[in-house]
């Protein structure tokens, strides 16, 4: 069945490997491994039956617990991600074959990345951390409390985003739809108890050499005396619980959250071990922000979001505040840019404003997911993503801005920050 599908695919006139080869020659200063990763994230991945059989749930990290869903709408039973031999991580969104994804197959008993008839690279599935086998005292499997990147503990304390309550959810996001599936299929808790988090981190730290950082992210919660007070207080509670596991007050950690005001941010920094801060602006254009992120636009606003990013720099330090954009949504229709050159110029101009102020900008490749409003649209060309990654990398070089907390090893989901390995 699998090989038949591959044979069918080979008759397709579209030849992505030719496109990749053309771009390798056009951008010799861009590493092949990062280009490959970017294109895999752009086009998606399909695991053949043979490749799936090679994924051993006792050894490898399987999908299902990530905050966002997949392009084929199926939650579980596939590897979460894999690594290329240069240490590059590739987080995967399994994608239907009809959409022309890259394929992971078993060739000569080796997991191989395949495109058309071309065998591109041998890959390795991420290994599962030891704490995945444990349960908390309250009886929750620890893999539902925290997940793992190869070198990072990833905690999602609150998987519900309150913007969805007022139909002000970001148009590219499927967080709440994915949560409903996770609750049904995995009994995923929506909101974590700080004691469970403390216990899970304690267990995770028993595995020597496994983790270098902790990352927290959640849906937005505008409740409280001031908007987002409840979100801030909850993060403080969770971070204090995590902090009980460390000798030092501060520990390598990242908070991906809403853009808080100075008072909220001051409390967060003073009362917890947090070391870096990432309020994601999602798109670098005010008009598109208002359209694509109505909740963020209503509760904070584009100009205020940027101001809060810059205001966070004196607290966390240059380079330890960053923001992520979902690259490609600026081209979504009907209101997005019609032309990639124009879109790129706009993004890099706005990015320079932030980077010159000490705020890093990173991107993820937009994976249109069926559970989101604009999930039926297409993302940008590979060349667009290459130019964007190079543009952001060159701005970091120009302004001497490091990106230690959100790099290839701590996160592994930003093609541009993979380039920071050689900064």
């Amino acid at each position: 069945m699998t090989s038949l599908l591959l044979q069918d695919k080979s008759t397709n006139k579209y030849s992505p490997t030719d496109e990749l080869n053309t771009l390798i020659h056009k951008y010799p200063q861009f590493p092949y491994f990062v280009m490959l990763k970017t294109d895999i994230q752009r086009r998606g991945i399909y695991y053949t039956q043979a490749a799936l059989e090679k994924a051993d749930p006792t050894i490898h990290q399987m999908a299902g617990t990530h905050i966002f869903g997949t392009r084929d709408g199926i939650l579980t039973h596939r590897p979460e991600a894999f690594m290329l031999r240069d240490g590059t991580s590739v987080l995967t969104t399994p994608t239907p074959l009809e959409q022309n994804p890259y394929i992971v197959d078993l060739r000569n008993d080796k997991l191989t990345l395949v495109d058309g008839q071309n065998e591109l690279e041998e890959i390795e599935y991420w290994t599962k951390p030891d704490f995945y086998n444990q349960k908390t005292k309250s009886g929750i499997p620890m893999n539902l409390i925290a997940s793992a990147r190869p070198q990072r503990i990833y905690i999602m304390p609150n998987r519900y985003c309150f913007f969805w309550s007022n139909k002000q959810n970001c148009l590219f996001c499927d967080i709440v739809n994915n949560l409903q599936k996770q609750k049904k299929e995995l009994h995923m808790p929506t909101r974590l108890d700080p004691d469970d988090v403390e216990e899970t981190v304690k267990e995770a730290l028993k595995q020597n050499g496994r983790f270098t950082a902790i990352c927290l992210t959640s849906g937005s919660d505008y409740n409280g005396n001031n908007a987002f007070d409840r979100e801030t207080d909850y993060y403080i509670e969770i971070l204090k619980a995590i902090g009980k596991n460390f000798k030092t007050k501060k520990f390598p950690s990242q908070l991906i959250a809403t853009a808080f005001n100075s008072e909220q941010l001051g409390r967060l920094y003073e009362q917890t071990g947090i070391l870096s801060y990432t309020p994601d602006i999602e798109v670098l254009n005010e008009r598109l922000f208002n359209w694509l992120c109505p909740g963020k636009a209503h509760w904070v606003g584009y100009k205020e979001w940027k101001k809060r990013l810059k205001d966070a720099v004196p607290i966390f330090g240059r380079g330890y505040v960053n923001t992520c954009i979902v690259a490609g949504i600026e081209l979504a229709q009907p209101y997005g840019f019609k032309d990639e050159d124009e879109a790129l110029k706009n993004v890099l101009t706005e990015a320079e404003d932030l980077i010159s102020s000490g705020v890093n900008v990173v991107f993820t490749v937009w994976a249109p997911r069926p559970g989101s409003v604009i999930g039926n649209q297409k993302n940008a060309s590979l060349e667009y993503y290459i130019r964007l990654a190079l543009g952001l990398h060159n701005l970091r070089k120009k302004y001497g801005l490091r990106l230690d907390h959100d790099d290839y090893r701590r996160c592994g989901n930003h093609p541009d920050s993979d380039l920071a390995r050689i900064l």
Partner: protein, 151 residues
């Protein structure tokens, strides 16, 4: 198999000096000693203790853009070999990484491990002076001061 028994033996000796040379994006050479250089199956391996080291950065650069990397080993008795290598794999997590991490903590207190680099040998050159002199006198007889031939 490019690495013969003598090289394998030399690499195992603590007294052997092991040097790694890399180049950066501006073609600047960076040379350091790497005591952790060792045989790993038919390849070489070294342990990178510093994530931000120039060598780590240059190794990534070499792997990405196929720049050359050179290993030099020098034994107590002046026997030396130069080994041209290609970075094959950068291991930053998983069971192999964790084994070396544990070993590093045991050996060097308070030393972290950033990466395990696997290097594939491409070419081995015996750089021992006496051997190179013999070679030159056979292959390039013209390269000699005359007084050394005088009666």
């Amino acid at each position: 198999m490019l690495l013969d028994s003598q090289i394998r033996e030399l690499l195992q000796k603590e007294s052997t000096i092991k040097i790694l040379s890399t180049i950066d994006e501006n073609n600047q050479i960076h040379t350091v000693t790497k005591d952790s250089l060792q045989i790993y199956n038919d390849n070489l391996l070294y342990l990178e203790y510093l994530e931000s080291s120039t060598t780590n950065r240059n190794m990534t650069f070499s792997m990405w853009f196929k720049n050359s990397v050179t290993v030099l080993i020098v034994a107590e008795n002046k026997i030396s070999y130069q080994i041209k290598v290609t970075p094959l794999k950068c291991i930053i997590s998983g069971p192999i990484f964790q084994n070396f991490y544990t070993e590093t903590l045991k050996k060097h207190n308070n030393t972290d491990l950033a990466a395990v680099w696997l290097l594939e040998p491409d070419k081995v050159i015996n750089e021992t002076l006496s051997i190179r002199q013999k070679e030159e006198s056979i292959k390039r007889p013209y390269f000699k001061h005359l007084d050394r031939l005088a009666l």
